[in-house]
Symmetry: C3
Subunit: 496 residues, 3 copies
């Protein structure tokens, strides 16, 4: 259905444009497209995505230039090369305008205006994408930063199974350390692959990365690679990590986290548009969790003060985020209206805070119990609302929502080491089972979507919103689209 | 005055209906009332509350059927019985329509739209009650869940006097344990009576209970019976409680608290309409205090982990609630605009948290002092604004606002046991005196209202709001009512 | 530029008035001004500030009566005196009307409506001042409560240098205690001078003080004198403070802080218009910091419970404020849109909380590290946004923004005493250097503005807003002003 709608949308977009310029023959339209970038470069971009210009592009050369604005080297590099060769280029092929466009990322308000859904992942009916919606984009453009969620999910499983193998309170389970080794190796491989691909995206499609970075929800996933790194440090099999990993690794991983935090938290407090009362979303927990995981990893490596620094920063900001999310301010535009898997991230911060504090402090005291029991309450509170899995389409981001359950299982193991009794030991088995089950289900879903349905990486709409809204045209599109939709949708669209 | 207004309102409502159907003779109006439920069952209900239909009801049979929609068994049971007897019934007496109505509880927005006042207890001028406002309803319908406030007040006094008798720092007062025994017995009796009556209401008028449960302020009082139970456990005289009460009692009392919390806090975080930024109100403290009282009672019974669980849950949610209430978000529609006795509940959570922590931790440390001193500041801060008792009508809910002062007195006794000096000993006497005085004043007021004025249980308007607003009629009613009101009220009404 | 605008504004105001009463000769206008106070006393006030009435005032007597409404004794005292002398007075000199005016302070909404800027210090274009904007007011009227910021800055420096001289971890710096003595003496002198001048203002222009007290930002500076006093207690040179200062001094300083807190926090929680979600502003930190400084000073004097009381109160309210400021609620009307030196106050509360806790608890434990590292993060977070010093006009209030950096330096010294290593010792030097540098720069700026530019105390516009907005006149003024302004400003003004 979603596939169909996307296709339908593409047709309508084409229709709208052909109506807005009814009598222009192909050539005139093409020259119009060539001129428009001077007036409004964004309009130009989307015009180029129309069949008319596509045909023109084909006539002009063999390369599809519609994705050029997102390419890092497009134009700039080639122009330099051709300038070396003494040949003026791109003048008649519509390749100009990238450089000046390259600067402009949509303002944060545009993301809220143009997108909808709990992860701001769907284009509103009144908007048009600046990339062709009716065909599959280049793979790298479709490869989102949230893919690192897989690494988070698998590497946290590796830690869980390491804990299960090591913990005396789970000793009766006789878990073999080989599971940890296997999972850890898998996550190393997975992380390497995902990192390489995303690095390629950074190199080749920097504009796309920039747009993900400015996306209010997506930006939180930029913490994921570094948290994954910390998970790999924490989950390293004892057999391999004969000596502890060098402390330098920790600093290398925490540096980007600190920089991202300075940027993101600073925006909350003092920035113009990205005020917390507007952008607060459960995915912000990813931006908090890094502190606690970093504190835990640092304490595991024998440091004292630096972990405490991150713990303090995490605690203060978690407090703010927790209150803000619980309040559900009406200005929190991205907060999912109803329950959604993203809410499981609530469990992540409290669980990791608990384990981190127990590690820093050296014992699982009352201060560690408070976040632990809080995590338990939140977990149960979410779990009893069981029907939240209905009606949501599978998304790669779900992987990020498995690691909270894993983190809670780890905290439960820690807790059962202090309070060892059949109840806590059952809790360990129960929650570890749920966590492992969730990862299995997601693995199968992912493989199914990747290899059977081949839709694991759909077009990444959020990066393709136009920088400005075109008032008249969009109204017209709403009208056109409303014809095909059911009555209720129409009414909603007209209200927009 | 309030009585008069209610009566006046009833007349106007009657007037409005007779005007909206000016020329219909009694019979036609009656048949209209009979038909209306099909179109808009709520309208039908309120029509039935008019004199015209009342007369019709009298003609039809001896039983007043206007309260049937709130009855649990009404229609359903009788119909079953009469079906057994082979007699069709209720067909010509307008008793139909209850079953389908029974499902519908007003949406949360309706409570905010239709009611006003710090406890959302008064009908707005633009609204009509679906139950007759001009006569006294059946006793059970007028018996609100907030009646458990009396039990809270008396049973917490029992604890206070037990502490005064036991505490070494208050030893010079020579308080006899008999006061505790008397108060505890009284609260046992009171709790039994109130519970029985409310149980009868649950059985006989389940719809009324359901509507109280959906009332944004009233729902918090559903915690009161269980907190009272915990108070009774804590306040049990030493002579009676030779052995500690069995731990099972604690679990029985905490189970409903946990369920209510899962429901209520879950609504704050993930529910649609009942977001905390909208429903936050000092009465929410009742929903928090249960955790701390439960933690205290659990720790008193010798448990360790379960009390800590509730303490952690209480702490996290108290934090959120405290910040939210202090901010006074403009979206907090139920927050009293000005000072009101309900604000004393602010003192309750901090006081009980202090005592609970001191008990869990085994000593009155800095972590216990922080909530204690916070409670003291809040107490003083409220007390210096002394004129807040002016202009408020006595209400049963006030009883719930005495237990915070009692809880603070108990915390003061605990504190004076650690820091024993003339100042803290004077504080004990001073605050215990205020608390006892408040309970005495309220007891006298309650008896006065119950037996002299006979208005202790006025019609419980909040349960009788219509599910939908009737736009045209209500405007007309506003107009009609405005004629009788003073100018300022008129202007307000027209603005609605 | 600002000077010029003020002057221009004054002319326009005069123009607007002469246009609103075009044909009145001097005498008629004067009598109108005399009559108007009965109808709208505030209008009368501003009319008196016109040249026409000024001339009349000159004719009437030698004393400039335009500032009389702000004078404490004006009219009242003189009338009493002259009544003693048996002479009716002020009848024909327009001195009447002050008494009834004296009661009226602008409502809090007026401050938001009439003023703009991060400190609500500039008159909006649509408003007129009730005092003449085109000439220099009496010195006392221009002497704001924020002048105590200088005392805060210098006296906190005295503490810093005392710490540097005393601390073993900074021993290698060989700081002489004479610096502390000099700074402390300077701050004693400065505090005495500023206090005397402000006391004179209280005595002579009580109305102006009252208006500062009702100003949502300015009111926080009323904590400054008492915090300065605490700083002087803490920074007293060891040579002078042979014995500790008597505990009574602490109580004398904390009493007004407690009273102000009861007033201010009470307004946040239960007041009508001054709800925290509206007035929250970084300057509120001044209202919090007093608690921590008081706790520190009290603990230094050997007390135990009273400091803990203030620490608890400070902690609870800091929590609320921290969350509220971080959220940047859209209703927070006074929150600076962009970065501003006032944000440094964020560092103040956490730093002082850290030092206070370390002192109360007797050791720099984890609980002290959390606020310390939080302060460090906030400091860095603000410092990396280095361009916030651009585009802001120097203001006396800046002095208040130096003491947070000093407080953080002191916390760093405390920290380096526990974790002594080259890094922490370098941090001490680094942050102390920044703090001292900031104070030097501000001292030079202040001297430059005071003696060279002679504009250290510009007209204190915020106290001169009219109590009511005059709808028609103000629109007209907007129109008039817009002629002289650039187009963008005009558009903004028209939108108002």
């Amino acid at each position: 259905m979603a596939q169909k709608e996307v296709a339908g949308r593409g047709e309508q977009a084409a229709l709208s444009v052909s109506i807005s310029m009814p009598s222009s023959p192909s050539g005139a339209a093409f020259s119009a497209a060539m001129k428009l970038p001077e007036q409004d470069p964004k309009q130009g971009k989307s015009f180029r995505s129309q069949p008319v210009t596509a045909r023109a592009a084909e006539q002009c050369g063999h390369r599809d230039k519609r994705f050029d604005p997102f390419k890092t080297w497009s134009g700039r590099l080639e122009r330099q090369l051709s300038n070396l060769r003494g040949k003026p280029q791109d003048l008649d092929c519509g390749g100009g305008g990238e450089d000046q466009d390259g600067e402009a990322v949509p303002a944060v308000d545009r993301y809220f205006d143009a997108l909808e859904g709990p992860e701001l992942e769907t284009l509103r009916v009144s908007e048009v994408s600046i990339l062709p919606e009716d065909e599959t984009w280049p793979f790298l453009l479709r490869f989102p930063i949230s893919s690192f969620g897989i690494c988070l999910g698998v590497s946290s499983q590796a830690i869980l199974w390491k804990m299960l193998a090591d913990s005396p309170s789970a000793g009766y389970l006789h878990v073999t350390p080989i599971v940890n080794l296997a999972l850890w190796s898998a996550s190393i491989a997975m992380t390497a692959i995902v990192s390489c691909i995303y690095l390629a995206k950074v190199v080749l499609y920097f504009e796309a990365v920039r747009r993900e970075y400015h996306h209010p929800v997506r930006v939180n996933f930029f913490f994921a690679p570094w948290i994954t790194g910390l998970f790999l440090v924490l989950g390293a099999p004892d057999s391999l990590a004969a000596g502890r990993p060098p402390v330098a690794v920790w600093f290398v991983l925490m540096a980007p986290i600190l920089c991202l935090e300075l940027k993101l938290y600073g925006q909350w407090m003092s920035g113009g548009q990205r005020r917390l009362s507007k952008v607060a979303n459960p995915s912000n927990h990813l931006a908090i969790v890094g502190n606690f995981v970093g504190a835990l990893a640092g304490a595991s490596l024998g440091m004292e003060e630096a972990p405490m620094f991150f713990f303090a920063v995490g605690l203060a900001h978690y407090l703010v985020l927790f209150v803000t999310l619980y309040q559900r301010l009406p200005t929190n535009e991205t907060l999912p209206k109803e329950l959604h898997p993203v809410f499981f991230l609530f469990v992540a911060a409290t669980s990791t805070a608990c384990v981190a504090w127990a590690r820093i402090n050296g014992e699982f005291d009352y201060a560690a119990r408070i976040p632990y029991f809080m995590a338990m309450f939140l977990y149960v509170s979410l779990a009893v609302r069981i029907n939240f899995f209905r009606g949501f389409r599978f998304s790669l981001a779900w992987w990020a929502y498995t690691f909270p359950t894993t983190a809670f299982s780890i905290a439960t193991i820690k807790y059962s080491m202090v309070v060892t009794n059949p109840l806590t030991q059952s809790l360990v088995v129960f929650f570890s089972g749920i966590s492992a089950f969730a990862v299995c289900v997601l693995s199968i879903s992912t493989i199914f979507h990747a290899f059977i349905l081949r839709d694991l990486f759909p077009n990444d709409i959020p990066i393709a919103i136009a920088n400005k809204r075109r008032p008249k045209l969009s109204k017209f599109i709403v009208h056109l689209r409303s014809i095909g939709s059911d009555t209720k949708d129409t009414e909603q669209a007209l209200e927009v």
